[in-house]
Amino acid sequence: MSIATQGEGAIGAVRRSGEGFSMTALTSVLRRDLLLAMRRKAEVLTALFFFLIVSSLFPLGIGPEPALLRKIGPGVLWVGALLATMLGLQRMFYSDHLDGTLEQMVLSSAPLPLLVMGKIIAHWLVSGLPVVILAPILGLQFDLDPGALWILALGLLIGTPVLSLIGAVGAALTLGVRGGGALLSLLVLPLYIPTLIFGAGAVQAHLSGQGAGGHLSLLGALLALALFFVPWATTAALRISLE
């Protein structure tokens, strides 16, 4: 079965599910996006290797002293995770916009915020979750102790969904705009800064003996805030882009 027919099948499912329980709309979009991602493994792996290479470049550029690496490690890994998430953002709506699938989603009777949530979750599973799993292993390169590695992974687990959520608004706003890629980073990166501060700060706070609880709670607050507002903001942005 080709990708195109898969896409049509999913849209059919979305249409049908509009009449029933709307959660099926979310899961069918999620399943479809994951399937599409699995069919194009190269793109997913590129973002992961990008994360790997970027975070390995820093020790080469700065020098191999363990004390220094331990200090910059959390920040470097977080910035790497942030950039790796950015890489996949443009694809979130782009190909669906090109082949008209997105228009069908907007027209379908299923609530658009739910369909958008499905796409965001798919983006996180493809680009955020691998980073969360890979980060503790890369953290070993920076001489982080096991406790710090746990905090790093936990922070990324709470923080990367925030990145996917905020990024979705930017991706929807820059859809079909010329110079979209560079513009997307200009719009989204400033909004990522609080997540970065709290995420990297959690590990720093743990290393300095303060405990990471406060930072992780603030990350959780950001996630709750983003989860509430982003589906609506993204929906509004998509409708504007498709006018």
Partner: protein
């Protein structure tokens, strides 16, 4: 009553607001100059020298008003952008667009004067403190708003897309304001408080308030001038613009 209401709504059309804006500009210029002279006089000649910081503190007469305006303009801009999106009124979106460059200027001035104050006081041009960082993010938000608007050719679509961005970014403004409490770092807490008596000399406070009024009036003037240009640009195809003496000349 109904008569007054109609009058107010009449001003929401670019056609009727254009001449009103033209008549308002000289008045706001006058107020800017007046408050500016008064504020600078109080700030530089009347206000006493600070016991700990010496005369270098006097840059707060520019720094604090610029910071206030940068935050205030963002809220006003987001408000008008939101109004433009909700009610589809053209003038609201034009207001939002014309406020953005002034807001960006204020954010930049705030960072610049902050650096000039930080060097003698803290011994560093820049510290990675929460307030400075948030002000920098605010500058980026202004730039993002303008860049997104510029990237979309169709003005109405650009208005609405930029409005979504402004409303998303407005979440950042309270973060700036409360950041002092969240991260407890180098930057001193806010000097003016609503609840307890101000910890600064009365004349310093007056100088700052006068300068804030000066910056406020200047922002209105700058936005009005820009707004008139935007109206002319967008309504260039209409008869009333072609009949304007400015266009005929």
């Amino acid at each position: 009553m109904s008569h007054r209401l109609i009058n107010w709504f009449k001003l929401s059309s670019p056609y009727s607001f254009f001449p009103v804006a033209g008549r308002l500009i000289p008045w706001f210029w006058a107020l800017t100059v007046l408050f500016g002279i008064a504020g600078l006089y109080v700030g530089f000649f009347i206000a006493p020298t600070d016991a700990t910081q010496g005369d270098s503190y006097r840059i707060i007469f520019l720094h604090v008003p610029a910071s206030w305006m940068s935050m205030f303009i963002y809220i006003v801009m987001a408000f008008w952008a939101g109004m433009g999106m909700a009610f589809n009124t053209r003038l609201s979106s034009m207001w939002a667009l014309s406020l953005a460059p002034t807001g960006a200027l204020m954010a930049f001035l705030s960072l610049w004067t902050g650096a000039l104050w930080g060097k003698p006081t803290w011994g560093a041009w820049w510290v990675w403190d929460a307030r400075l960082t948030s002000e920098l993010i605010l500058l980026f938000l202004y730039l993002g708003f303008m860049a997104l608007h510029a990237a979309i050719d169709e003005p109405r679509r650009a208005d609405r897309a930029a409005a979504v961005l402004a409303l998303v970014g407005v979440v950042n403004v309270p973060i700036i304001y409360f950041s002092v409490k969240w991260w407890n770092t180098l930057h001193q807490g806010s000097t003016i408080s609503m609840t307890k008596a101000p910890s600064m000399a009365q004349t310093m406070l007056w100088g700052m308030l006068l300068m804030a009024l000066c910056f406020w009036m200047y922002s209105i003037v700058a936005a009005l001038i820009r707004l008139r240009a935007i109206i002319l640009e967008r309504e260039a195809h209409t008869d009333w613009v072609l009949r304007l003496p400015e266009a005929a000349a």
